[in-house]
């Protein structure tokens, strides 16, 4: 028999991001647990509202599948002695299975007769197993923000207030601390505060919607919101009003309401004098309203609010929201008009007084560094064949100088979320080049995981420069992220660098940039030379770690990245190309041709000192051979690498194996004469360095 399982975790209002995390992970966790427990089902659906996560398992079988398996033991001949008595091997095996030794069976295989046992585990009733599975699911949801409440031990996104678990018409017993599951759910917080009883698992969603005023399915809430918006657009057909659907905002609003009610309100026309983007942001951000435009694309003095509920007093709700928006917009326009009285010069002057970070100088100092780093990025890219014209030196210089100024504008001080947007708008008003205006906004990108990346050349370059500068500065000042502590979001910044580089294909050597950047901090921080090279390495590793993180998420092998970076390669694109080439060798099954001889070299040179090879001291043919081929291959591989032809340069080292093997087989390294011995070690070191031109292959895990 198959029945439907419904499992509802009732909570206090979940943040939107937690709701998404909960839906995704519950579905995965439960599917996994059901499979693990041999429970057959048709499909799993997970829904969520601010106050609940609901899992529906369709067509769940009422019996667990039985388990039949064969456990193999030792060969028969060592299991019984000459008299047919069980040996220690058989006794131990039977004991391990928890059965009497007489119950062991003989099993024929290709390799002869073995002892073993066919085990049969009968499937249990689904209702017996489900409670512990559901209980586990609650604990396994990995919310990124968790809390505790009262004297409960469990951590969850927000307090859990009820659990409903019904299979068919049977209530399952799930217990979390003092909370016991049942067949009771709750509807909308204010519209239907009383408990609702659910007797059959088929009823839940329907009853919640009809009695409880809760639309469980987020997709459906989205449709209701969109059709509500459409109805309003039709209502204002004459004015030709179009609501700006900001998708991120829409996704958030869906998670803020259990039943959406779309309303339209007005704000005074005087606020239309605010620049378009600032006005729209001010409408959207704090209050989660949608803005609207007319056919010309100008903002109209109306806003859309999505209420959580259905009300007979729409007018009052609208009025309340109008009052709040009016106050927000009067703040914004007051500060905007104050800002109009100011100039770049004044703001830049003010920036000198804003500390970037203790001991790292002012924001103005930061801007000067950005200008220099941007310059270096452009010249490095041009050295590598990018044709970035000279105008971009001016653009990035100007954008660097202006990009932080909006931090001291009154509008951003009051509405920090407008940073970047205000900078761009004020730059437009002050007739800066469009490339510069855009770069001012874009240099903050990405602002969060999954955010858009800069599109303009200048925006990308200044964005990379800014992120390198912040990471470098924080490391120098000792504000290094540890564990879950990353107050300056350095990991997100590092990831931003990686993503921008790949987006644009900018071949930037991270190590060079960081080193240059560290130099720019001289005069702010006392640095001792030795320590600073350590820190440079730490910073580079930190950025590379984000690169590995994205790689790992794509299911790629991080040991290959370690191998390449160990050879001193710090251009992400270059690393990627070498990665691809090495991967190809692995899939061709030729990796041993490189790693085996290389490891042989490595073992010889470990812990020794080296000098130049003296060709006069080369005595035997095989060592002369090795030397000659080494010199040839050095030039060849360097050349091929320069042209990014890694497939070919790897073939060169594969081809190198015979030479190395012959040398090791025929030449005795540990010669009696010290000079000759040392010369041979130097030769081996040189051979190892040849491999290192591509990667430290010895770091690659054998499969």
């Amino acid at each position: 028999m198959e029945k439907k399982l419904i499992f509802e975790i009732g909570t206090e209002e979940l943040p939107s991001s937690c709701l998404n995390e909960g839906i995704t992970s519950l579905s995965n966790i439960l599917s996994e647990k059901l499979a693990e427990n041999r429970l057959g089902y048709d499909h799993v659906e997970v829904f969520g509202t601010p106050r609940r996560l609901i899992t529906v398992v369709h067509g769940l079988k009422d019996m667990q599948d039985s388990l039949e398996k064969l456990v193999m033991g030792p060969p028969e001949k060592i299991s019984y002695d000459a008299n047919g008595k069980p040996t220690q091997a058989a006794i131990g095996f039977a004991k391990g299975l928890g059965i009497a030794v007489e119950n062991l069976e003989k099993i024929k295989t290709d390799k002869g007769i073995y002892i073993g046992k066919k085990l049969f585990e009968e499937g249990k009733k689904t209702v017996e197993i489900l409670p512990s599975i559901l209980n586990e699911c609650i604990f396994l949801i990995p919310f990124s923000k968790q809390m505790t409440w009262a004297d409960w031990q469990i951590r969850f996104a927000r307090p859990i207030r009820w659990i409903l678990a019904v299979y068919g018409n049977e209530v399952l017993n799930v217990e979390i601390e003092s909370l016991k599951s049942g067949k009771v759910t709750y509807g909308h917080r204010t519209l239907c505060p009383q408990p609702i009883q659910i007797d059959n698992s088929d009823e839940l969603l329907k009853t919640l919607e009809e009695e409880g005023n809760v639309i469980v399915d987020g997709e459906k809430r989205k449709r209701v919101i969109l059709s509500g918006i459409k109805a309003i657009e039709e209502q204002f057909e004459k004015e030709n009003i179009k609501v700006i659907i900001n998708e991120d905002l829409l996704d958030e609003i869906i998670n803020l309401v259990e039943i959406p009610n779309v309303l339209i309100g007005n704000f005074p026309e005087e606020f239309l004098q605010l620049p378009r983007d600032i006005l729209i942001k001010a409408i959207e951000y704090h209050q989660r309203y949608f803005a609207a435009v007319n056919e010309k694309g100008d903002v109209v003095p109306k806003f859309i609010v999505v209420q959580n509920g259905v009300s007979d007093k729409n007018r009052e709700i609208i009025k309340g929201n109008e009052r709040v928006l009016k106050a927000r917009l009067s703040d914004a326009s007051f500060f905007y008009s104050e800002d109009k009285k100011n100039s770049w010069e004044k703001w830049i002057e003010k920036l000198r007084g804003v500390i970037f970070y203790s001991k790292l100088g002012s924001m103005y100092d930061k801007e000067l560094r950005l200008e220099k780093i941007s310059e270096k990025i452009i010249s490095e890219l041009n050295n590598k064949g990018f044709n970035i014209s000279d105008r971009y030196y001016d653009f990035s210089g100007r954008a660097s100088l202006l990009c932080k100024t909006d931090l001291v504008t009154d509008l951003v001080v009051e509405f920090p979320e407008l940073q970047g947007v205000v900078g761009r708008e004020y730059a437009k008003e002050r007739n800066e080049n469009p490339e510069v205006c855009e770069a001012i906004f874009e240099h903050y990108l990405p602002r969060f995981y999954g955010d858009i990346l800069p599109k303009t050349t200048t925006g990308t370059i200044v964005s990379i420069a800014d992120k390198i500068d912040t990471i470098t500065g924080m490391f120098l000042a000792g504000a290094i992220p540890s564990g879950s502590e990353d107050p300056f979001a350095l990991r997100r910044r590092a990831l931003g660098i990686v993503l921008s580089i790949f987006e644009k294909g900018y071949d930037i050597n991270i190590a060079d940039m960081v080193k240059y950047n560290v130099g720019l901090y001289e005069g702010f921080l006392k640095q001792d030379k030795e320590k600073s090279s350590e820190i440079i390495q730490e910073i580079v590793d930190f950025i590379i770690a984000r690169f590995k993180f994205t790689f790992e998420k794509d299911g790629k092998r991080t040991d290959l990245i370690d191998a390449v970076t160990a050879a001193g390669i710090f251009s992400l694109l270059d690393i990627n190309k070498r990665y691809e080439a090495i991967l190809k060798i692995i899939s061709d099954g030729k990796m041993d041709e490189i790693t085996l001889p290389m490891i042989r070299c490595k073992n010889i040179v470990k812990g020794r000192n080296f000098t130049e090879i003296n060709p006069q001291l080369l005595k035997e043919d095989n060592e002369k051979d090795l030397f000659k081929i080494l010199l040839l291959k050095y030039e060849k591989i360097k050349n091929l690498n320069f042209q990014n032809k890694y497939d070919e340069s790897i073939n060169e080292v594969i081809d190198f194996r015979t030479t190395v093997d012959n040398f090791f087989d025929k030449v005795l390294i540990m010669d009696k004469t010290e000079e000759i011995k040392n010369n041979r070690i130097n030769l081996v070191k040189k051979a190892m360095d040849l491999y290192m031109l591509i990667a430290d292959f010895s770091k690659i895990y054998a499969q």
Partner: protein
């Protein structure tokens, strides 16, 4: 409903829910959280239920009485429930109904707002509560105080009294609120708001404040060295308020700011740990009432 009736109403409501009703702390502080009835009582295992009005001072929020929504002196109504009851949100919504807000026909929203006060090493998770878009309450489950994880967890409900009054009286400015039938909020507070704004931003004696900070910090040490936790607590608040005034006077640079915050936090940490130790020595007397 008059401004003062809102206070009577909330006091009665929470008294009926088992809270003791206390009066404000007779010291300057930025929020009801700093009152030892929250600051200290949220620590350790003992239960505590309290409600009180808290006049709160935030010197940088002064606007010379020209902003309708923002003042350097305003009133919070603070409720602390420890441990947080299972039906705490229903209790809270009940208080709104009791104030005459028809929950069914208005849009009451719990919008994620996690709270942290680095100055006192405190953090919590919760919401701002919106009524038709207006933020009227901060609702927080304390997770940490003075850097110490809290168990049991308290629920802190902080009503913004002026905002609730705006909503209930359908007014657009604090100044227009009816304190009683014939006295407005402006009658009570506008002149002092102007004077304090001038003082906070333009007049306060910076040298004296810098000196006071150091002295208060020293006196904290003196008090704590004699195990006088409640006295020490007041010196944490004094330091914190002096710091806020210095901030309003723009007397401290951004980097110094971090250092001052760290100094106050250290005092708070020391004091919180000392408070728990002291209650433990007393055998956590309030556990007996459980």
């Amino acid at each position: 409903m008059d401004f003062q009736e809102i206070i009577f109403n909330l006091q009665k409501y929470w008294a009926d829910k088992g809270c003791i009703i206390k009066q404000p702390l007779d010291l300057e502080k930025g929020a009801g959280t700093f009152n030892p009835d929250t600051f200290l009582r949220c620590l350790g295992p003992e239960p505590w239920k309290v409600a009180y009005v808290e006049p709160s001072r935030r010197p940088t929020d002064g606007r010379y009485g020209e902003n309708p929504f923002r003042t350097q002196y305003y009133y919070q109504f603070q409720v602390l429930l420890k441990p947080s009851p299972d039906n705490v949100i229903d209790m809270y919504l009940g208080s709104l109904s009791n104030l005459g807000i028809d929950l069914k026909s208005h849009d009451i929203r719990f919008v994620e707002d996690d709270w942290a006060s680095p100055t006192i090493g405190a953090a919590g998770l919760g919401w701002e509560v919106w009524a038709d878009g207006m933020e009227i309450t901060q609702f927080t489950y304390f997770q940490q105080m003075g850097g110490i994880p809290l168990k049991p967890v308290s629920a802190e409900i902080t009503y913004g009294l002026e905002r609730i009054a705006l909503y209930l009286q359908d007014k657009d400015s604090f100044w227009d609120l009816a304190w009683t039938n014939d006295i407005t909020y402006a009658d009570v507070h506008l002149e002092s708001e102007k004077q304090w704004s001038v003082y906070n931003f333009d007049v306060a004696n910076i040298e004296m404040l810098l000196d006071l900070f150091d002295k208060f910090e020293k006196e904290f040490e003196n008090a704590i060295s004699h195990d006088l936790v409640y006295v020490a607590c007041e010196y944490v608040l004094k330091c914190s308020h002096v710091f806020n005034l210095l901030d309003a006077r723009e007397a401290i640079s951004v980097s110094e700011r971090t250092l001052y915050i760290a100094r106050v936090r250290n005092l708070a940490k020391t004091m919180c740990a000392a408070y728990i130790a002291q209650r433990e020595k007393l055998g956590f007397p309030l556990l007996k009432n459980k």
